[in-house]
Symmetry: C2
Subunit: 350 residues, 2 copies
Amino acid sequence: MFKVRVLNHEIIEEILDMKQVIGAVEKVYTSKAEKKAELFPMVFHEFERGVADMDIKSGHLADADIFGLKLVSWYGENTKKDLPMLIGTTMVFDSITGKPIGILNAGHVTGMRTGAAAAIGAKVLARKESENLLMVGTGHISSFAIAATLIAMDNIKKVRIYDPMNIEEAKKLLASIGEELEKEFLSKYQGSSMYDEIKAKFDVEFELVEDIEKATSLSDIILTATPAREPMIMKDWVKPGTHISCIGADMDGKQEIDENIFAISRVYVDDLAQAISVGETEIPIKSGAITRDDIIAEIGDVMIGKASGRTSDDEITVYDTTGIALQDLMTSKLVLDIAEEKDMGTVVDL
Amino acid sequence: MFKVRVLNHEIIEEILDMKQVIGAVEKVYTSKAEKKAELFPMVFHEFERGVADMDIKSGHLADADIFGLKLVSWYGENTKKDLPMLIGTTMVFDSITGKPIGILNAGHVTGMRTGAAAAIGAKVLARKESENLLMVGTGHISSFAIAATLIAMDNIKKVRIYDPMNIEEAKKLLASIGEELEKEFLSKYQGSSMYDEIKAKFDVEFELVEDIEKATSLSDIILTATPAREPMIMKDWVKPGTHISCIGADMDGKQEIDENIFAISRVYVDDLAQAISVGETEIPIKSGAITRDDIIAEIGDVMIGKASGRTSDDEITVYDTTGIALQDLMTSKLVLDIAEEKDMGTVVDL
């Protein structure tokens, strides 16, 4: 009989703060580069093409003494049933004994670790003095990505928001983002010494943009988080020195930026195999815009000093973050540890 | 937020009865044959060879509107830590919406469905009038396999018990099996109309055997459940009309019976791909004793009338049951339904 902690969405939302998640995802990247973490093969099954599918992503983080999996299902018709389209569950096991230790709703952790990943791309690869951030896409992930990038960077002054599909969505995000940052992200630091620092970082100007070409040319950092299958940002619009973190592509055929941008950029990925098969990097390689050898490194290699990052202020850098199970596992372990300390969640006998 | 039922070992042990599990596993076999059930690729990871590993087996049972997975870890050193070597957890999801519905300790279900599978092999392939059962191996699975086979067959009069490694273990099982059958299996039917029937079926003679050659020649049905890597039962000892259910082989290199038995038998499996890669069927094919085409069918094909089973009383039949995730999922769904009805287990918000 094992004591296993079960954490639902609300508890995880209450527990996690973005700075910690950035730290957890950074740890995953460096552990992976040091070969202390590995991904297992993904299981993917389509119940019906375009209607419902599921995947099981799993891996081992030797550094953190855990292994585990995240199962995510996507049911396109679920909204009609008042259910979320994406439903995820994470299971964490102790890799010293094989014991189950935690079961978590995967939704909030996925949002947090995805935003953190995009921000780490900027932190590692963008110019330190970057002031202008452009958020392309205004879905669920956008506020996580904006919050994380504002926290990870020191000099952002303006955040432009663009939605390729629906300007109304962009207007909604523009109207709510200030309050969202305060309520969902800043509030976690109430009473902490970091509160003032993060409050100051969140004190930026937000602007809705309709002209993506112009907005691109004004940006130091661009984050893309859309389900696009056609490029929205073209090569000639990107100014020297820009950093782009591509979040959206997680399936073959998805593409957010012009593949020719890859040919003039220093390209980094979270996981080589996954980026090439399902990430933003897939199309540039398939189209011949770049070859596999043109990818400079996994980002963890830059972080441990095994590969070089940006080498000059006028280079364009691209970070393709496809999202790996290790991020979910490490972040979940973080939540579990905090929940244990605070005696939160439900402990069940399994 | 989802309501998910969590069931631990004790509750599952209390709920499940063997007749129901035999029914559930039969349903899996026929659904699979009717293409209403499918296995997903297995994930296997060795943390350290011969020391610790884990696998994730998953699949979809369209017939039962569920999909899910079983994660099993094996840690050889766990006994020193007073922990089980094998630890398993099953997760069941609703395949109409993708919602998680249950999380179960996988141990007891694994024992029950494994015993049931061996018994179904006998039920489908052995001669109806079989009286003499030989159990080879006296580990954890043996009492499940004996109970299930006594329930599934109508005329067993004698059960011989043989342990290839340690006669003391066989003596222990001989001393305890009567009480075990009563306490752990028959007790489930207390107050039911089936009680007397099953009590009568359990009323058999048990005998310890040391001479496996002689015991083999006296047996109508042989069940093998050992971790053997060398054959224990040789071709020339097996009398015409015998049925053998091989349970033990679940990894390449494992072998319980002489590969030449396959050459003179009608051979059936639970899952073709899995039997050939890790089951008892692996060695006979690798050694050339039989070819893939010599395997008559998956057992489900016999059950739905798509393939023929035993065609005469003097044929030898072999059933290689490797164990598939669908058995765990279907049996787990059965437990979950009963637990819901009886309001057992812990319902958590996930």
